[in-house]
Symmetry: C2
Subunit: 340 residues, 2 copies
DNA sequence: TATTAGCACTCAGTAATACCGAGTGCTAAC
DNA sequence: GTTAGCACTCGGTATTACTGAGTGCTAATA
C-alpha cells in the first residue's frame, strides 16, 4: 500500500490533534478538522489503512486512533526536513558578561523548561578535550598549596594540596615554570607516562610532590562526572499519561541521578551538531521509554561543547521544541563567542 | 484533664503504630499492642479523652485515631529530651582526603536519603561569615586576569576579569601585595567604603582596575544563592499520603527550587547547634504543610556552618531521623576538622 | 470506482447501588 | 474503674446498568 498525499494529510491531522488533546482522535473529528471535505466514513477507511501500515494505533476497539512511534517518527522527519521552521527569538534573561558558566547554564535550563513546559537538562561542556592554557601553584599556608588550572575556554579548576614542609619562593617559581613549560597546550590524554617521567626527573628532590600535583590535576580534570543541571522536572505532572506515580517516580529519579541521561545525550556521534530526537521506545534507556527526548548541542569553541535535552511526553510539540532548541543553541553560541 | 502516665503510654502506642502503618489505629489494636492489659473499651475511653485534649484526631466517625500535630510535637519533645538515643554509626562511603567540598556534600545528602527513605537536602557552608585568608591576581592572557580568593575554611573562589592592557610584572606584584595587605582577615561585611577608598587612593593609575576587582570579589563572595544539593526526592512517592500529583508536584518543585527550603533551614537562630523539627503546619512555608521537616547544623569551623534537612511525611520516624542526623553531623564535623 | 449514509456493535468511563467490616460511643453489668 | 455487648457509622469495594464516542461493514450513490 502506498502512503499517498491524502493519507499523509490525514496522518498529520491525527498527530497534530493528538498532540493538542492527548485523547485518541476519531474519524469525525478529522473529517471536520481538515479541509479535505471528506466524510467520516472515508476517513475511517483511510485510518484503517494507516493502522495496517503501522502509523497509528487503536488503544481499544471502540476508541479513536493515536500515533505509533513510527507515525511520530515520520512526522518528526518531515518537520526536520523543512528547515524553515524558525521561531521567534527567545531572549535569555541573562547578562552574560559577569555571569559565570554555571549560572548561565542553570538559567538556560530554566528558560527552556518554562518556554516548553517540559523538563529540561543541560550539561556543562566536557573538559577532557580541553587543552591546558595556564597552571599556577601557590603557597597558601605553611602546609597547603593551591593549584589553579585554566583550560582553553577559560574554565578554571582549583584544588588544595597538603604538603609537609613550607617551600621556598625560588622552589615555587621553579615548579611553576616547570609545570607550565611541560603541560601548557596539552590535553589530559596527552599527559602520559613519558611526560610525567620527564617532569619527575627534572624535579629532583620534589619528584614526589610533582607526582602528587599531577595526580590532583588529572583527577580534577578527569572528573568523569559531567556537571548537569535540570529544570522544570515537575512539568511532567502536566501530562496525564506520565502522571502516575510509578512512571513519574522513575522519570524523576532519572532526572535527579542525571548520569543515565547525560550518557544518552552524549551517546551518538560526539561532535554531532544536529538535533536528535528519541521517540518512546527508540530511547536506549529504560527510564524514558514512555517519553520523548530531544537533544541538541551548543558550542563554546572548537571541539568543546555541551548538550541540552528536553524530556516530555511522546506527544511533545516537536515543532516548538526543535525551534526553541535551535534558538537557544544560537543564543548560547553567541554568548560564548562574545565572552571569549 | 490531666495527661497521666497511662494516657501517655497509650498516646505513644498510637503514634508508634501509626508511624509504622500509616493507617488510623483503633482501640482493639492498642489493647493488644501494649502491655497494659486493658480492654479495647477502656482504651476507647482514654482515646476519647486524648482526642478532647487535642493529641489525636479521628479522620471520620467510624475510623481509628491518628496523631495531631500537637500529638507529634509532644512525642518529638519527649524523644529529644532523652538524649541517649544513639544510633549505630553510619559510615560515610567517602574518603575525604582528596574529595572536594561539593562531592562530600552530595554524598552526604545521598547517604541520608538512602538511610532514612526520605528526601534530603544539604547546603554548602555560608560564605559571608568567612574571612579572607589569601588573595591572588594572575595575568592569564594579555586581556584577562584571574582572581583567586581563599577563605578561611579553605573555600576557593575564582573569577576571570577582562582588562584592556597587559600589566607589567611589577604592577602585578604591587597589586597582589596591596590586595592582601588590605583585605586579609576581613569579612565581606568589613570591606566597606572607607577601605575601598583607601585602596583606590593607594592604587593610583590602577584605581579603576581595583574597583573592578573589588566588585568581582564582592559579588562572587556575596552570591546570595546558597549552594544546595538534594537527594532522594522521589522517596516521597513511597508514602501514600504524599503520593498524589498535586502534593508531590508542589513538594518536588520546592526541592528543585531549593530557595524556600534553604530559607527555612537558616531561619531560626543562625548559630543554633541543635536539631529543629517542623511538624506539618508548624512549617512557615506552604510547600511542606503536609510534611515534616527536620533540620540540623554541621560545622566546618568557628562561625562557619551549613545545614542538613530531611523532608518526609508527618508520620516520619523521628527517632531514626534525629539519630541519623546527630550521627552525620559528627561525621561531617570530624571530616572537616581533619581536613583543616 | 471512489465516496457516503446508515446501522449494529464494542467498550471505557461513570454513576447508582448494595454490602462488608473496622471502628466507635454508650449502657449496663461486674 | 473496668469490661462486655450492641447498635450505629461510614469509607472502601464490588456489581451492575447506562451512556456515548467511535468503529467496521454493507448497501446506496455520484
Amino acid at each position: 500500500m502506498e502512503l499517498d498525499e491524502r493519507k499523509m494529510t490525514i496522518l498529520r491531522a491525527i498527530i497534530q490533534n493528538y498532540l493538542e488533546t492527548g485523547e485518541p482522535v476519531g474519524s469525525r473529528t478529522i473529517s471536520k478538522y481538515t479541509d479535505l471535505n471528506l466524510s467520516s466514513a472515508t476517513i475511517r477507511n483511510e485510518m484503517s489503512d494507516l493502522e495496517e501500515m503501522g502509523y497509528i494505533i487503536q488503544p481499544h476497539t471502540s476508541a479513536g486512533r493515536i500515533p505509533s512511534d513510527k507515525g511520530y517518527r515520520l512526522y518528526v522527519d518531515m518537520l526536520m526536513a523543512d528547515k524553515q521552521n524558525e521561531m521567534e527569538s527567545l531572549k535569555l534573561q541573562l547578562n552574560a558578561k559577569s555571569e559565570r558558566l554555571d549560572s548561565i547554564l542553570k538559567e538556560a535550563a530554566k528558560v527552556i523548561a518554562v518556554n516548553t513546559n517540559y523538563a529540561s537538562m543541560i550539561t556543562a561542556p566536557r573538559y577532557h578535550r580541553h587543552r591546558i592554557k595556564f597552571l599556577q601553584l601557590t603557597q597558601v599556608d605553611p602546609d597547603s598549596l593551591l593549584t589553579v588550572v585554566i583550560l582553553e575556554g577559560n574554565i578554571v579548576k582549583n584544588n588544595l594540596i597538603h604538603v609537609d614542609e613550607e617551600l621556598s619562593k625560588e622552589t615555587m617559581l621553579k615548579l611553576n615554570l616547570m609545570l607550565n613549560t611541560f603541560l601548557q597546550g596539552l590535553d589530559l590524554a596527552e599527559i602520559n607516562a613519558s611526560v610525567m617521567q620527564k617532569m619527575r626527573n627534572e624535579a629532583g628532590v620534589y619528584s614526589a610532590l610533582i607526582s602528587d600535583i599531577l595526580d590532583v590535576i588529572a583527577t580534577s580534570l578527569e572528573s568523569e562526572e559531567v556537571e548537569a543541571y535540570t529544570s522544570g522536572s515537575t512539568n511532567i505532572f502536566k501530562y496525564p499519561e506520565l502522571n502516575d506515580s510509578a512512571k513519574a517516580s522513575t522519570l524523576l529519579s532519572a532526572l535527579e541521578e542525571k548520569k543515565e541521561l547525560t550518557d544518552l545525550m552524549y551517546q551518538e556521534g560526539d561532535s554531532d551538531r544536529g538535533i536528535q530526537v528519541y521517540i518512546g521506545d527508540e530511547s536506549p534507556i529504560e527510564a524514558t521509554k514512555d517519553c520523548s527526548v530531544v537533544t541538541a548541542t551548543y558550542h563554546i569553541e572548537e571541539g568543546v561543547y555541551g548538550k541540552i535535552g528536553i524530556i516530555g511526553p511522546r506527544r511533545m510539540d516537536y515543532e516548538k521544541v526543535v525551534g526553541t532548541l535551535r534558538n537557544l543553541m544560537e543564543e548560547l553560541d553567541s554568548i560564548f563567542r562574545k565572552d571569549k
